[in-house]
């Protein structure tokens, strides 16, 4: 090798040497930047890669009746979810899942779309409470469908056909609920009505989580740690399941729609509450399908409406005790005050009929008899003497026309009119003639069944307007603690003699042969009660509409009751929509009271009754 060649070689090799050193230095710096400077970022990305946090849904609190008999429980169910992160091709996955499960592709697509802004590793539930066949069908296609996961979740289980509106139902949280309420996140299952809604924060519990390591195809390798879910607070309700069942059976037997609320008149405990027709909350527990939801909403009988709290009807003759007490306490009448009922009476130039007009009226009646036989003329007269404002004052004090404050959502307010109300709402003067209809609970008077239960409880307990409530005690895992009862709304100072006169009238209505509520009589238990008929349409209107409408134009029937007359233990109301008259409601009440006293005395409970409602309009 020549010197020249050697030099060229050395120079060029030296250059190469430097170039390589520089390249390696660049590599080292690059690794330093990635591994040391940006370590945090890549560390997180690596963890997101291989760690998944899977939610473990907390079971909602079990709901018991007052004797700690479980009413609403949880059962295990399977839900099928889709994890977008594991998916190469969502369209294909949705198509496959749809055919595997036999459910509508559009529905799945809509569900996935609704959750599209959530992190892609979070499972989106497409089928709740999947059937064994659906689970098996998905498991069989596991390899084709790596994006599908099957989770075991607790699902609400409600007693069959019992107190649906009271328990309410659960459903996936809506967007507006997430925005409005602290601590809720998308995908949570929350109470949407009834007890489930009002005590949702107690019932919900705390969801747990499981952190798992997954490999590149999403298969779980091992569990890193697990936060056990905490079951929601258990609730003890004031409901007596036997009484509740008796109410349900009574409605079943009578075959009419309506509502009933039964209270302990001493403290406002709700012993039973129902609204018919009902729905099955279990269908909501696992996510209601669109067809069921649509049919529930479009049903003309409105099964989703809680008639006990949201139905407003004229109280009819059940209102008469309020008028009676007003007259007595305002000093306008005494229990001995007599009115002669010829079957009708004329006030302000207008003729007002008594319901017994066709049989020549009631003759001369005092207060007790007027209540017993529900004489309209008597109360027209007393009402006219009182004026609407004093009727309003006493009816309101007894709980009518105001909200009761029961611990259930969406209670509506009834109406007991006054001159003030008419001036404000209608911008009109009150006409004295209007008072006459109000005095027998017609006209503008409207009440909810639950407010009627408060009213009759006040009659039973001597004038205390109670706040009905459902929650008796709670157990958040540390034992039962009594729930603080709501404070009484008001205690009226009512002369006991006056009160006794009204109660006597109610007792006679049930126990005298000429009373209107004989169907509710139970020997030895001194049942007191009062029937009521609420006109759906005026008699003239009914004639005019005959044959022109398929709407049910039958009057509604009421029966309010308490028992025993002295020291009452139970009070309440049964309302029958288009039940024609209160006597039919009294039949249902009979079964409720029979059950209540049988249970109390340790007798065998009466069997489910067979009731034949009298659909012939005749009573008041």
């Amino acid at each position: 090798m020549s010197i020249e060649q050697r030099r060229l070689l050395t120079v060029r090799l030296t250059i190469l040497q430097y170039v390589i050193c520089v390249l390696f230095a660049v590599l080292a710096v690059s690794f330093w930047v990635i591994q040391v400077v940006q370590h945090q970022k890549f560390q997180e990305m690596a963890e997101n890669n291989h760690q998944r946090t899977l939610g473990l849904r907390a079971p909602r609190g079990v709901v018991f009746d007052r004797n700690l008999k479980p009413l609403v429980q949880n059962r295990r169910s399977f839900s099928i979810s889709i994890v977008r992160e594991h998916s190469q091709d969502m369209n294909r996955a949705i198509r496959l899942v749809s055919s595997a499960l036999g459910i509508d592709e559009g529905g799945i697509r809509a569900t996935v779309e609704r959750h599209r802004r959530e992190p892609s590793y979070r499972p989106i539930t497409i089928v709740q409470d999947a059937t064994a066949a659906q689970v098996a069908s998905v498991l069989a296609r596991r390899l084709e469908l790596p994006e599908i996961v099957i989770e075991q979740v607790p699902t609400r289980q409600y007693p069959e056909s019992m107190a649906a509106h009271l328990f309410g139902y659960v459903g996936e949280v809506t967007d507006s609920q997430v925005n409005d309420q602290e601590g809720l996140k998308s995908g949570d299952i929350v109470g949407q009505s009834g007890i489930e809604k009002i005590y949702n924060s107690k019932l919900m519990g705390a969801d747990g989580a499981r952190r798992v390591v997954v490999n590149s195809v999403g298969r779980e390798i091992r569990t890193l740690d697990e936060d056990q879910p905490i079951e929601g607070t258990r609730l003890q309700l004031t409901i007596d399941s036997e009484v509740q069942q008796a109410i349900e059976d009574g409605f079943d037997a009578i075959g009419l729609n309506g509502a009933s609320v039964v209270l302990d008149p001493n403290n406002g405990d709700v012993l039973g509450l129902t609204s018919h027709p009902a729905y099955d909350p279990n269908t909501f527990a696992a996510g209601v399908d669109r067809a069921t939801w649509a049919s529930l909403n479009s049903d003309r009988d409105k099964p989703l409406t809680d008639r006990a709290l949201q139905g407003r009807y004229s109280p009819g003759s059940t209102f008469k005790m309020a008028v009676a007490l007003a007259g007595l306490e305002e000093g306008i009448i005494t229990p001995d005050f007599h009115v002669y009922c010829p079957g009708h009476a004329v006030f302000y130039g207008q003729d007002f009929a008594c319901w017994r007009k066709s049989r020549g009226g009631h003759g001369s009646v005092d207060l007790r008899t007027a209540i017993e036989r529900s004489c309209d003329v008597y109360f027209y007269t007393v009402g006219n003497m009182l004026g609407v404002d004093r009727i309003n004052k006493w009816a309101t004090a007894l709980g009518l026309g105001v909200k009761t404050g029961i611990d259930l959502p969406n209670e509506l307010q009834g109406l007991v009119p006054s001159t003030e109300w008419k001036r404000q709402a209608r911008k009109e003067k009150w006409y004295s003639g209007e008072t006459i209809s109000v005095a027998i609970g017609q006209g503008q008077v409207s009440v909810t069944p639950v407010s009627m239960a408060v009213y009759v409880s006040a009659l039973a307990n001597g004038g205390t307007r109670l706040t009905p409530h459902l929650l008796k005690a709670v157990d958040d895992g540390s034992g039962w603690k009594p729930a603080s009862p709501p404070k009484q709304e008001s205690k009226l100072a009512i002369d006991p003699d006056m009160m006794r006169a009204v109660r006597d009238g109610m007792w006679m209505a049930v126990n005298n042969p000429s009373g209107t509520g004989g169907a509710a009589r139970i020997e030895g238990h001194d049942v007191a009660g009062k029937t009521g008929t609420s006109q759906v349409i005026s008699n003239k209107g009914r004639q005019a509409a005959k044959g022109k409408t398929d709407r049910n134009l039958n009057d509604h029937g009421w029966f309010v009751f308490f028992a025993p007359r002295d020291n009452p233990e139970i009070a309440g109301v049964v309302f029958l929509e288009h039940g024609v008259h209160g006597g039919n409601a009294a039949m249902v009440v009979h079964h409720i009271l029979d059950t209540f006293f049988a249970k109390k005395e340790g007798r065998p409970l009466p069997p489910k009754p067979v009731l034949k409602p009298n659909m012939n309009p005749s009573m008041g």
Binding site: Q5, L13, M45, I221
Partner: protein, 364 residues
Amino acid sequence: MFERRLYYHIDWALLIAVVALCALGVVMIFSTTSDPTRGTSHLYVTQLYAIALGLGAMLVTLTLDYRTFSDKSHLLYFALCGLLVYVMFFGTAQMGARRWIQLGVVNLQPSEFAKVGVALVLAKFFGEQRGSPGAAELAIAGGLTLIPVALIAKEPDLGTAVTLLPIFLAVAYLAGMRMRVLGIICLCAALAAPVAWKFALKDYQKSRISTFLDPSQDAKGAGYQQIQARITVGSGGLSGKGFQQGTQGQLRFLPVAHNDFIFSVLAEEQGFAGVLVALGLYLFVILRALQAATLAKDRLGSYLVLGVLASFTFQVIYNVTMSAGLAPVKGLTLPLMSYGGSSMIATLAGFGLVLNVRMRRFTN
């Protein structure tokens, strides 16, 4: 033949560094492929056999004078081209590429040996020239390189084919090719790139390059490996997650971790510290070999050393860059560390030649 005194001139430091890299490779292969839940894989054992065979091959390339090899280099060259042609028609296909010749239980990958063959034939060709190579010589040498390049690219194995080009460039450069010519070649390559893009590259190759420029456009497909590679390296941190504690490699977020991405696994489990050790070893090996080229007794020796070193260095730098997600993903292994028998044997045989040249720097 082998004379006893030559033994003292063996570059033990280079040999030890090379063996250390092989050992590091075996450890990392063991770490990524042994899965306690699925029973231990025997890939690392296979790799140990390959190293043993490679050391045997090294002994052969060390023992005979390198001039003997270069004298016969044309025969070796034709034999290799023949094998490459054979592979094209009768080779064993895996994953859409026909690269292997089945020899009983072993699969031989002739393209790996082509690197040594091309280094030998180019060293001989330029060694016989006097003065700086002219256009004609460059054209002939280029042609000699491009034949195996084309054959390998046809398999298709564009990655390995490309590693042959640095051999030509490096040896021609050392032989005194004018820098201007080198510039022109680079310019031509730059101009040819769009043409190659349009006509020569397959769709999957195009997608690899386009996703390299923007990995997020196809985070599940071609960009996936690149993103995962960077996560793997970055999550390793300064000191790494520990032996077999890497999540990226162990849980298979990174494909072919024991092969193309062995360096990513090293970076994940041994951290920046491990990276520095490995890079240091590679740099030492390369510089030490360059020293051998400087010390060589004749131009043939220098060219041969640089030829062997060129494809090795190119592959090391490219693979390490790719391991960090900084270069498009190509099926290029990391010499000495990646799993793969043919590559190991061919690389060790190549280093045998490097040792050979240095060892015989005083003989005549």
